[in-house]
Symmetry: C2
Subunit: 256 residues, 2 copies
């Protein structure tokens, strides 16, 4: 038998090595967010590779949000934004053919817990944003498109108010995928907008009173109500999300 004394060598393209080297310094805190990275020419010199190679490496980190072009077009270390991450996760879920059932099952669990946490930790500023959101909802009760935007935002603010970034990132992708469907519920269920408004109003009130249980109970009801509406609007719970539901995800290309 031939002797197998050597592990398979890890052969990686130079542009990956560049990206990994920079990422490692970021992850280990040797360079921190908002720190400027040198110019491309600097990196060329430091790594001893060609500019094209450096640029390809930079693109990898740019996409994962760890580098960005800041003022003066210079390179800065950057914190990957939660909104961008959530969008990427949502898109992945779509490609994996996630079903409505998986989404609502998740939200039935996460949303009540989220608002319970929010009741404990919400700030006055966040309450104010919720009040503005609810007021806008009341004013635009006829505009279904706008209404589903406001719905998505309402739940995002609450998630933010939970003051737990792990939780925030856990629920945001599901929220991004499911709440836009509100729009289709409105078409099928005429009383849906007013019921939504009532629920949002009550939940806001519960949050103002710091009433954890009341908030949780109403959110629970709200989500169940949502699922019922979803079914009545003709959505197949075990089917995957339809193209029209994804328009908002696709048009986000611009700032991602």
């Amino acid at each position: 038998m031939r002797q197998n004394k050597f592990k398979k060598l890890e052969i990686m393209p130079a542009y990956r090595l560049v990206a990994d080297a920079i990422e490692k310094q970021i992850m280990t805190g040797q360079i921190k967010p908002e720190d400027p990275i040198g110019t491309e020419a600097d990196l060329v010199e430091q790594f001893g590779v060609n500019r094209s190679t450096v640029r390809e490496g930079i693109r990898l980190l740019e996409q994962s949000g760890m580098l960005r072009r800041g003022e003066k077009r210079r390179l800065y270390v950057s914190l990957p934004g939660y909104d961008k991450l959530a969008t990427r996760i949502s898109r992945s879920l779509v490609l994996h053919k996630v079903t409505f059932r998986e989404l609502v099952e998740t939200l039935e669990i996460l949303e009540p817990t989220t608002i319970a946490l929010a009741a404990k930790h919400i700030t006055e500023e966040q309450l104010e944003r919720l009040r503005i959101n609810v007021a806008a909802t009341e004013k635009e009760l006829e505009d279904r498109d706008r209404l589903s935007q406001l719905d998505t935002e309402f739940h995002s603010i609450i998630a933010e108010a939970a003051h737990n970034s792990v939780f925030l990132l856990a629920r945001e992708p599901a929220g991004l995928l499911i709440y836009p469907a509100t729009q289709y519920i409105f078409e099928a269920v005429p009383e849906a907008p007013s019921r939504l408004l009532e629920a949002h109003k009550t939940m806001l009130q519960a949050l103002e009173e710091r009433d954890e249980e009341k908030a949780r109970v109403w959110m629970d009801k709200h989500v169940r109500d949502f699922v019922k509406g979803l079914v009545r609007s003709g959505a197949e719970l075990d089917g995957q999300i339809a193209q029209p539901h994804l328009a908002h995800l696709l048009s986000l290309d611009t700032y991602l």
Copy 2:
């Protein structure tokens, strides 16, 4: 007043346009996972840009996992893998200085629910993997490093058994960040390994019996136990995760 008839133009670098164009076709299903993309030369011709530009665009999609170099080094459309996504999310959380408190708060909620779902949906094959995992845990009770790997794996298998990819992605990042800390608990709490083994054994049993409540209760206990151990091991709940805890995340560079 000057007439404002024009919207601000979206001015984006060519390599982004390339990436967006391809991504849009993927998201709209015009090209599907495992479909081959043309060669770089093809893309050069189709987009009418230079090869360097095409390559930079490809890097963006490569990083987000929508494109990969497959067999024969050709470009294929690809499903972003959950493991890769979870790792990226974990790293982002670290950069955002996530605290132990946020992690355990999340897992105290998600893990019991996860195992309850798993009790309903777990397959025989997944049960078998859990049995193997628990058997290995019993055999390697002395090897702390190996033990914390097995712990992480145990919980990942359960998450997979819940058969809800949204839920899976919601908890995996927290799992990746917190369970490696088991290692440090073992150092501070001598009886921790045997307690962990007992809990894992009992949860496995509950899953075999499809006993949702028993599974949930034990997981709840297990997580609380974990948190206690974490505190006894000297971890500051409101502090961020220490460097040593992240070693596994950094060495994963190779296959990401």
